[in-house]
Subunit: 124 residues, 2 copies
């Protein structure tokens, strides 16, 4: 019987599983996919239209990673023709909640950030 | 006089400045640098040790982007020898707060996520 306690997860440790998951969530497209799915269940084509600039390949890879991590459900509807829908799991919803706060803060801060960027660029 | 209202920022739009900033924050190393700096002001070498696996080049690029966005302060201390310290700005602190919530949630969810990954892998 293995009685050793599970070591606490730590994103700062290279080999910890939490770091890979954090990267799936916060990767270039992960954040946007999760945020889009909070609004509603989406088909692939809806997601692709909503997330301006994502390629088919990247969207498909991102959805696959998030599904593997248990954050996104993939449901095949047996309509004619059949179609596939994506939605957040309970864990996905919990994890997306702070991301929505982050997105709101970043969107609100754009004027302040653009001033900072302008100052940085004129001093360098 | 320019009286046109500033359009609201929207991370889903490819050309919106908020998307680039979101990527600086949530990029592979951005999250970890911001989270490390919440704990305390750090020198470059301290950050590099704390964030297991980051290269000198990537850390330096990440800090530069975050400094340009007005999220990180870079202070040169005129000690002998002089050294450079990094800390969060007020905006950086505000924006890092939901990231810390996210990291806690992800670290807590590791066992649940590993089960999901295992199930996914055995079904594919």
């Amino acid at each position: 019987m293995n009685t050793s306690p599970t070591p606490a997860a730590n994103v700062f440790a290279r080999a910890c599983a939490s770091r890979g998951v954090l990267q799936d969530i916060t990767g270039r497209w992960g954040v946007l996919v999760l945020a889009a799915l909070t609004e509603k269940t989406c088909r692939f084509s809806e997601l692709r239209r909503h997330i301006d600039g994502v390629s088919e390949r990247m969207l498909s890879q991102t959805l696959q990673n998030l599904e593997r991590d248990g954050l996104v459900n993939r449901t095949v509807r047996t309509t004619i023709p059949p179609h596939v829908e994506y939605s957040l799991t309970d864990l996905g919803q919990r994890i997306t909640s702070p991301l929505l706060t982050l997105i709101d803060l970043v969107e609100e801060a754009v004027p302040q950030i653009e001033t900072a960027q302008h100052n940085y660029d004129s001093n360098s």
